[in-house]
Symmetry: C2
Subunit: 275 residues, 2 copies
Amino acid sequence: MELWYTEKQTDSYGITAKIKETYVSEQTEFQKLDMIETEEFGTMLVLDGMVMTTDKDEFVYHEMVAHPALYTHPNPEHVLVVGGGDGGVIREILKHPQVKKAVLVDIDGKVIEYSKKYLPNIAGGLDDPRVEVIVNDGFMHIHDHKNEYDVVMVDSTEPVGPAVNLFTRGFYQGIYDALKEDGIFVAQTDNPWFNSELIASVNRDVKEVFPIVRVYWANVPTYPSGLWTFTMGSKKHDPLLVDESSIPELDTKYYSPRLHKAAFVLPKFVEDLVK
Amino acid sequence: MELWYTEKQTDSYGITAKIKETYVSEQTEFQKLDMIETEEFGTMLVLDGMVMTTDKDEFVYHEMVAHPALYTHPNPEHVLVVGGGDGGVIREILKHPQVKKAVLVDIDGKVIEYSKKYLPNIAGGLDDPRVEVIVNDGFMHIHDHKNEYDVVMVDSTEPVGPAVNLFTRGFYQGIYDALKEDGIFVAQTDNPWFNSELIASVNRDVKEVFPIVRVYWANVPTYPSGLWTFTMGSKKHDPLLVDESSIPELDTKYYSPRLHKAAFVLPKFVEDLVK
């Protein structure tokens, strides 16, 4: 018998992957959590029926959340990740020696627990001494911390279920207040093929809060359409003014010094969404 | 009853799209041809079980085959398209007023016939007076024409079935000979996630024939992984030395003057494939 996982990424389109084994299929306090072993992508974490990460292509998303902001900020010492319980963004943050402390706040402790068990290559950094892991609502954490972080990264699920508050103007204002005077914020903001209105509305909201707003993108095969966008809000530092020759070659597979600015050049129909 | 078209893009991974209607499902002299109406992507042309083009995302591929080469060559008057019977690349070529003649050579007349009927927005340019449509083997056409074209574009299926000869060093040498002294060649060269060896081997072969070889990419949601590569071989003109400010704003949805060079900045794991 062949088992296939099929994710409807829209009402009438989806991806399908042959699976070898189901490790976890559980309703947590916050969401449906599935951890499955696929033939093509290795271990795959699925939340509320949406692929979050896989062994094969996780490096793209995690590198592209972490490095553009960290190489835009001149001295990122104190970094916050909201969501991201699989630990992939933390792993990338730890590649930066300037980072003294990285705080991860995920609302769902089960994501952290199962990622450590089934995705050790992704979650390994969560036990690093520079990392503090907090199981809490990111919205509340942001509210309780002012003028504290150099960089805040939002590695959330889509704006349904537990992440719905993370796509509001109020949340972006909270992040602004949680950042130091030259802080930078970055969030994943879905894809322009099936969810273009979200990109446009987030862009409008972030522009009301941050003086510098930039959108960049990367190819993640297991995310809808394969084109994923990220929105950056910055108080002072502009990612497009970074001297790429000052960026060191890092142990990465997607991001590179050469890609730093190119990732901000959007396909024209995406550019038009955020004008 | 719901009908879904599922394409296995690898042995263990695929995409699936809900369909409203099947217009054509026919074995031509050369390949299996399906023309279906999908909910998400509109009309979809499928050859030998692989999506070739859809109403919704066709602009990406067709623009990105045509414009980078045409804006690298200073005066592209005589252009050849090998394959591309749907007419999408021809439509983009016709946006360039310098082009005096565009020749399309597709081995399968049925692709042309059904594209005109079911994909009129894509195939419309095939009846333009500047266009000559030839139903023939592109390999033979190339062999019979020397020193004739400014730009040759290979818009082929994958290297199985009728297109297998179009991925050989001998074919690239034939194209070199069919090009004038400052001619440019471009071909679609699949994706690096599931078919990385092809990109590497084409790159080695093209480098043996052309002095300037560059690889660029674009996001095409209905192609495997969403990351599609194109390989350009050039006798004289380097796409990376083009003055982007000299490129006019065109009626495009993906390509732009700003994207011209950025498209050549590859994700690091792709860069490593073609070093």
